[in-house]
Symmetry: C3
Subunit: 455 residues, 3 copies
Amino acid sequence: MAVCFVWQTAMVILFGAFVRYNKEVDAHWPETKIHENITSDIENDFYFRYPSFQDVHVMIFVGFGFLMTFMKRYSFGAVGFNFLIAAFGIQWALLMQGWFHHIDSTDGMIKIGVENLINADFCVASCLIAFGAVLGKVSPVQLMVMTLFEVTLFAVEEYIILNLIHANDAGGSMVIHAFGAYFGLAVSWVLYRPNLKESSQLNGSVYHSDVFAMIGTLFLWMFWPSFNSAICKHGDGQHRAAINTYLSLAATVLTTFAISSLFQKHGKLDMVHIQNSTLAGGVAVGTAAEFMLMPYGSLIVGFFCGLISTLGYIYLTPFMERKLKIQDTCGIHNLHGMPGVIGGIVGAISAAGATESVYGQQGLINTFVFKDDFKHRTPAVQGGYQAAAMCIAVSFGIGGGILVGLILRMPLWGDPTDDNCFDDEVYWEVPEEEDSADPVLQYNNHTVVNKHAEV
Amino acid sequence: MAVCFVWQTAMVILFGAFVRYNKEVDAHWPETKIHENITSDIENDFYFRYPSFQDVHVMIFVGFGFLMTFMKRYSFGAVGFNFLIAAFGIQWALLMQGWFHHIDSTDGMIKIGVENLINADFCVASCLIAFGAVLGKVSPVQLMVMTLFEVTLFAVEEYIILNLIHANDAGGSMVIHAFGAYFGLAVSWVLYRPNLKESSQLNGSVYHSDVFAMIGTLFLWMFWPSFNSAICKHGDGQHRAAINTYLSLAATVLTTFAISSLFQKHGKLDMVHIQNSTLAGGVAVGTAAEFMLMPYGSLIVGFFCGLISTLGYIYLTPFMERKLKIQDTCGIHNLHGMPGVIGGIVGAISAAGATESVYGQQGLINTFVFKDDFKHRTPAVQGGYQAAAMCIAVSFGIGGGILVGLILRMPLWGDPTDDNCFDDEVYWEVPEEEDSADPVLQYNNHTVVNKHAEV
Amino acid sequence: MAVCFVWQTAMVILFGAFVRYNKEVDAHWPETKIHENITSDIENDFYFRYPSFQDVHVMIFVGFGFLMTFMKRYSFGAVGFNFLIAAFGIQWALLMQGWFHHIDSTDGMIKIGVENLINADFCVASCLIAFGAVLGKVSPVQLMVMTLFEVTLFAVEEYIILNLIHANDAGGSMVIHAFGAYFGLAVSWVLYRPNLKESSQLNGSVYHSDVFAMIGTLFLWMFWPSFNSAICKHGDGQHRAAINTYLSLAATVLTTFAISSLFQKHGKLDMVHIQNSTLAGGVAVGTAAEFMLMPYGSLIVGFFCGLISTLGYIYLTPFMERKLKIQDTCGIHNLHGMPGVIGGIVGAISAAGATESVYGQQGLINTFVFKDDFKHRTPAVQGGYQAAAMCIAVSFGIGGGILVGLILRMPLWGDPTDDNCFDDEVYWEVPEEEDSADPVLQYNNHTVVNKHAEV
């Protein structure tokens, strides 16, 4: 893990060379206020964005981290490596996104504020999605390398979609979710382990690890309205994004429960579906969150996503593993891949169908930012660009994933053997409990040790 | 669970027919701003309410959900069904509360914004309270039916208390807690299972399930100030409600610890009390949260609630089960029932005692909304109405609960047998761990399977 | 625990005699608005401070509480006693800090508002830090007594540092962390138990208790930017504090992972480091959070703290236990002690080096509050006072800790025997699981019971 040390040193140097505070963060703010005729400190973007930022921050570290703790002996790795790559990713994302979006032309410096922190968290979300596909099958060094490349690609893709194509993607259905998911699936496809199924008996949950995972699920679910609204336009846009997401997620929960029990043997509910598919509505409403989707529109999106995502877990994931040689540990294709694509399509359709009667003249301009270079764009054309954006996100994901997968296949990174997959023992000091007062657990541990000795 | 599917479809249709965005959410907001002379986006209610909303949202899904995970083998059901009925309840509540409170007379539509989301979460809180009484003894379909009726009744009761009687109930001691608790207790009374005690050995905790429950407790405790202040008047009212709740809860913790150790055999603390009674102060200060209760007044309320609630767990709950045939799984009578009633009484007394010297002339009018139809009401009269409101809440709870309990007794809903109570195995795919690397757990599972076979 | 009862009664009386609402909380707010020419309710400090307050509140109760649940059989004590002493401490802190800082000279009353709640939470943080040193080795009554004295000392120390010396300490590196840590270590030194190591086999973790502890770690880590910015000046100061903390913490994570794996036998990661050292950067950036530390400066601080803190766990903690007779259960010296001192030094240096070109003329005055009595102070002089403040904090900690330690050694407080340390059985009704359906756990329990019988 010396790589952490080296990279953190690099971060210090790069931040020293390139990153400064923006005008709302800098101590010259009193002068800025006078200069820009700002009357109150409340107009500092901090007060508009910070509560949403904190919700997003919880999603990244507790949400994603705990969602992946479901495995019986990979909880340390799930929450720990999630922590590591997110902490690295946000720094690298501040730089990469800064170079593409926030260069101050007067001094060539990246100027950061609270909105940059949100965007960095967003970027890292796509890395954590990809992490879900390879969970338990790669080394921490591989994860660091993957994150390095994925953040870089993300910044390029985001620049193309948001700036060049001028597509809308408030909650990142395309930019974050579709991209991250197909990236992760491509990596997992390249790193296919044909003998994994037979050798590993650890790819499953125990009772309490499933409860831990619900912590992740619920914090993701609750704060998703903040995620989708965090960088929306102030006022009605932010308000609308939160409400659309809230409604879509509520609908998803019901269809997930319905499908989970109806399509299972014995008619019992499956925790995997409840932990994951209930979130699909939040993904799918992301692109269009800021649009006039209407409350029932949001419910419809959530309705179908719960349905498709749960069916994906039941039928598609086993099919992908068997036939397509894609091993998707957390089922990110069902939670982020398909819902992300649906989100892109919903965005394209609802943009194309936007009218002045629904949005108001100024509302239409504000929502789609038909200003400056884009002031002559019509909703129909915007719809086309939205669709194009979705294709770009998926292409970048698949292409980038294959490339990075090939890099990760080099025998340099200390990846675990098939037998060591999904096992914290390889990278963590797991409590041995040999001196425990508890003879049963002690016995248990001896057995595990013996098993390892046999291998 | 096909019922989820059907009801979600109904929700889509009803939202399509009746629900639209309010003016702060609609894309016509730029026109609204000009029309209503609003100068800044910060005046959009989103920025006043959203952080509180998110805190309340956490209480509903993580707070209530995890509080009920304390049982050794019903954690999936606790957190999962909590999730299901809350997600359904908020949609139905948006409709029901909308019809009573937020119809736009110009077009007959329900207009929703962030305040409606908070109110929907509040309504669902009363359902989750009732869930606590029947936890582990009903099927998910029964819970859905119970929620459907309870939300409906809640909307009626709330309309009577807040609009017709014009009582104050910022934190819902009466409207939410007393109503929800007596509703749940009445349902549980109708569904009494005489042989439950003997048959079930699962009605208890294990070490780690008690720790999980503390997650619920703490998120409820910490965010209760947000709950009680979420829909208060802006400015001093909201500020005061938060501080009163903070103080009351702090006092409750100390008396709960004191009583728990003093009245137990061995002088040891009981996790059940710490998990539940520490919250009673938040319930009891709800109605009067916005009033000039004064800091010491809040402490006094919290002081007595910790005391009464803990004693309730020690003496009253066993008595109710033995003599009154009310099986109250989570002890909601101690956490929500009695404290809710106390809250109503505190509210009535402090309203009746309100004076212009304490509140200021304008402050008195603002706090009690002595405006329009109610502009001639005096504090003393208000106190009377507050007391009446409390009686209505309890009556609605008991009456509605008996009615709904009778509906739930119909042999339609797949309720579990006495032997299957408090057991996730009935409704969930519980991890079997047969292919586990862990022989002890495997052994354990075999035994469980055998036990079931014998039954 | 009758002490809880008595003290809570005292709190009621003292609050009745001394504590009132401040003008932003009082119902006379409408008059205040007119009088002070405040145009909007949004200017009520509630809307500036409350979201940060709630984040801090989560850190105190969930963050600290769960961070300490790592031990296999002391999770109830960790989260429960944390709850108890925090709930008591905030009340006592409101009084003590009120007497020193918030007396209204017109009527001699303490006037409280949301900022006081934040400060009370801050004060309690120092008590919970000290709790970490003695975790598992003291009785709840001892903890209550310790908290009573520590809060009192804290208020004095805080008054000297912030008001008399006029040092800056936004995030409390000195006032909270260094003071709390050295206080706790001094108490632990006085209460040294020479035979603890041999007798206790419970001072360690199990798999799931380590995952519980990560809940605490992550909520502390995520909300630390709110902690350090919660009482900063509005606008740029608050904004800057949040960003500096965010960056510092991110850097700490990487160096912690690096050192943890590089300096361990087998090259494996140690959960203790990940749970604790990753937070050191938040501590160390506290004093200077509001300064123009620059993004790279924050990274550098975080970089070194991750390094020093992790090395502390590996080398210093065992040394302190063996040679200095200081038993530091949670390693607070590595998480709060050293990083707190570093934070003080960073603050002194960056204050001394502050220039008008970096801060702007008004910015310099605002940031260091060079106003009124202190309007002629220069940055260089301020640097000297910052250094003095750090020495005062450490001295108060050590001196106070020794004093309070001596009080706690009196044979009055029912402290546990060496054999009972780190064991919830002494103070809690731990679920016995004798009637469990699970023969393995049952067997396990019998054994534990036997072991106890032998003792």
